[in-house]
């Protein structure tokens, strides 16, 4: 009994150490691509994505200082634009998928309804995202859809899919970095949540959430690598 208990303890200790090591490794790794989940239509190659429309990305970063998180509105906008552009480049170079022009709200000036349509569709994705994130593997079962309302966006007829990009991250001030060296805490990071939705019926075809550790506003190469890894399973367009 005592021996068994001691064995159990030792095994538990080894397991804990190993888990700790893996977690530590993941935390310090410069970049890490997490799961990619493909709809059966994509994994069985019943549907091929050749042309996509990328919706305006919404990537939000904050500066974590000793006095709490501070907004980085301008930097968030720059980063959103950079991520959006880079996703297009990865699609084109790695997957031979063409990016078509998006129905950007700014291009719909004077047309409130078109602007609202885009805004409401972005909101609809925001609503669906937490549900996908709760059970990402259900994308493989074809559980998630945004409905045929996608057609209301009136995209280019050749568009096969729509890409929605969300992201959140934090940058640390030097004070906070020093503080974290001493007591630990979340490092600077950027987590992206990307969904690819069928442009004809709204089904979620792919969900991927690449994450990179490092300053999200400056880590350009890491971002590109994280995105390349994030779309690794997506079949090429042609």
């Amino acid at each position: 009994m005592t021996l068994r208990s001691s064995n159990d303890k030792s095994r538990r200790f080894r397991t804990l150490s190993l888990t700790g090591l893996v977690l530590f490794g993941a935390a310090i790794s410069p970049l890490a691509a997490r799961g990619q989940f493909l709809h059966p239509k994509i994994s069985k190659k019943e549907t091929t994505i050749r042309n996509v429309v990328i919706m305006p990305a919404k990537v939000e970063v904050v500066r974590d200082s000793m006095k709490g998180p501070e907004g980085m509105a301008a930097e968030s906008e720059d980063l959103s634009a950079r991520v959006e552009k880079m996703v297009g480049e990865v699609m084109s170079k790695q997957k031979h998928i063409t990016t078509l022009s998006a129905p950007a709200p700014s291009s719909a000036e004077g047309n409130s309804q078109a602007k609202y349509n885009v805004a409401d569709f972005q909101t609809k994705f925001n609503d669906l995202l937490p549900k996908i994130m709760k059970k990402r593997s259900d994308v493989k079962k074809g559980r998630f859809t945004m409905g045929d309302e996608v057609l209301n966006l009136n995209l280019d007829k050749s568009a096969d899919a729509i890409i929605f990009i969300r992201g959140q991250g934090q940058k640390l001030t030097s004070g906070k970095k020093t503080f974290q060296v001493l007591v630990g805490g979340m490092p600077a990071y950027l987590k992206l949540m990307i969904g690819i939705v069928d442009a004809r019926n709204g089904e979620v075809l792919l969900y991927t959430d690449p994450i990179l550790v490092g300053d999200p506003t400056t880590a350009v190469d890491r971002l590109r690598k994280a995105l390349e890894k994030g779309f690794k399973k997506l079949p090429a367009g042609s």
Binding site: A74, S76, N126, L128, P130, K131, K134, K135
Partner: protein
């Protein structure tokens, strides 16, 4: 290190303290009765801008631009002009404040709320505008928010938060309350620009500052000839729990509403007795509803999109009771069709705190379609669904028979019949719609539906 439940508790406490944006019920809990003379002057003249304040100002200017750019601001000229008129009538004449430019806008958001940014931009959601009953109530909301700007509450709260380190936990608070819908988009944007504003402007300031805004708001209402007791009525309206949202837990657990009403009533005292003819005019519901009809219709559609089906039925019914034209009857039909197997009001079982908590958890996990399937598996859900489908059909037909019929009613009927597997009827209604509205934004969508219905089953 805080556990998840501790963080939830912290979030709950934060909410409890700051309440819901405009007229936070947390302020009800003020134990002392404030004598009228305790109310400070309308403008905080001692306030001097520091570096931190100017940084915040830059961020909120960006916030304003993002609301506009992201399609969250309602671009209705008449609505904006109406808000500007009421807002400007409340601002003391000749008042100029450093770094403040007054702007009053409606935010496309079905959650009833309002907030002021320190640069003078005041936002009222379409959800709140639709819930109110007259112009005076809207004025009370604006007066309350104006006080936050005039007394520089956002800057003061920012400084205080930074001192207290409170913002460290704001993200946890926001994370604990993920309302979804357009309000989610607003909160996401605000969180990025200035995280503390989420608790301060969206959820409410500290009790003292909210109380100050209430009392100063009343003075401003009287000066602009709005009956001040309408502020108390707004609080009662805000306390309506149509959706059974978890946020109401904080009201239910807190014996605060009566206290807030008490201190306001006590402050009102003789002030409420002097009713002028202009005040009576401002209390007119019909005039308000007449001006608000387009906003209300817009909000009903937003409510449906955000899954706030009960609110949609409630607001649409009020609208039809006021003016039963084709457009309004169509809104009610849409609200009933999308309500589906849900009950129109919260049932007794759904009204308890634990049931609301459970419902909030489920909302995070299930899609609307899954929720409907689950409800339809029960007899009550089937009964509701049948009754609402009948009601929706009657209303669509009525919308097509009154005044200038709305072609969208054909689309609604088509969707209803498609759900009922009445394929030929659905095709016929869809065809009428595409014929009558060839330029509609959903033309292609409906054409595709017709094609799919015509396709022989495989």
């Amino acid at each position: 290190m805080k556990t998840f439940s501790q963080r939830k508790l912290l979030a709950a406490t934060l909410f409890l303290c700051v309440g819901l944006g405009v007229l936070t019920p947390a302020a009800f809990s003020q134990k002392k009765k404030a004598p009228a003379e305790a109310v400070p002057p309308p403008v905080n003249e001692e306030f001097k801008f520091g570096k931190v304040d100017l940084e915040l100002l830059d961020q909120v200017d960006l916030l304003d631009r993002r609301f506009e750019r992201d399609g969250l601001v309602l671009e209705g000229e008449a609505t904006n002009a109406y808000l500007e008129r009421i807002g400007n009538s409340l601002v003391p004449k000749g008042l100029t404040l450093e770094h403040v430019k007054w702007k009053f806008r409606a935010l496309r958001d079905p959650q009833p709320n309002a907030f002021a940014l320190p640069n003078g931009s005041i936002y009222v959601t379409t959800g709140l505008m639709s819930l109110l009953e007259n112009e005076s109530q809207l004025a009370s909301v604006l007066a309350h928010e104006l006080t936050h700007v005039m007394r520089r509450h956002t800057y003061l709260q920012n400084r205080s938060n930074r001192r207290k380190f409170l913002t460290m936990n704001i993200m946890a608070a926001v994370g604990a309350y993920a309302p979804g819908g357009v309000v989610g988009a607003v909160i996401t944007i605000v969180t990025t620009i200035a995280p503390f504003i989420v608790t301060a402007t969206i959820y409410g300031y500290s009790r003292d500052l909210e109380r100050e805004a209430d009392l100063k708001g009343i003075d401003m209402m009287i000066s602009a000839e709005y009956p001040p007791e309408e502020m108390v009525k707004v609080m009662k309206l805000l306390n309506k729990d149509i959706e059974g949202e978890e946020i109401r837990l904080f009201y239910n657990d807190h014996p605060a509403l009566q206290e807030r009403i008490n201190y306001l009533s006590s402050y009102l005292g003789a002030r409420a007795d002097k009713i002028t003819p202009q005040m009576e005019l401002n209390r007119e519901t019909a005039a308000y509803f007449h001006g608000m009809e387009p906003v209300m219709r817009h909000d009903i559609q937003l409510s449906i999109s955000a899954g706030r089906f009960r609110s949609a039925v409630y607001l649409a019914q009020r609208l039809v009771d006021f003016h039963a034209d084709s457009e309004n009857v169509f809104c009610l039909a849409e609200a009933y069709r999308t309500l589906g197997p849900r009950s129109p009001q919260l049932t007794e079982g759904e009204s308890t705190n634990s049931a609301k908590k459970e419902a909030a958890k489920k909302r995070e996990k299930r899609t609307v379609e899954e929720e409907e399937r689950e409800l339809l598996a029960k007899p009550a859900g089937q009964e509701n669904s049948k009754a609402h489908q009948q009601k929706a059909e009657e209303l669509y037909l009525r919308a097509l028979s009154v005044g200038e019929p709305e072609p969208v009613a054909h689309r609604g009927l088509g969707m209803l019949y498609e759900k009922l597997s009445r394929t030929n009827d659905a095709i016929s209604e869809y065809e009428k719609y595409v014929e009558l509205a060839p330029m509609a934004v959903d033309h292609e969508r409906i054409q595709k539906r017709i094609e799919a219905l015509r396709r022989p089953p495989q």
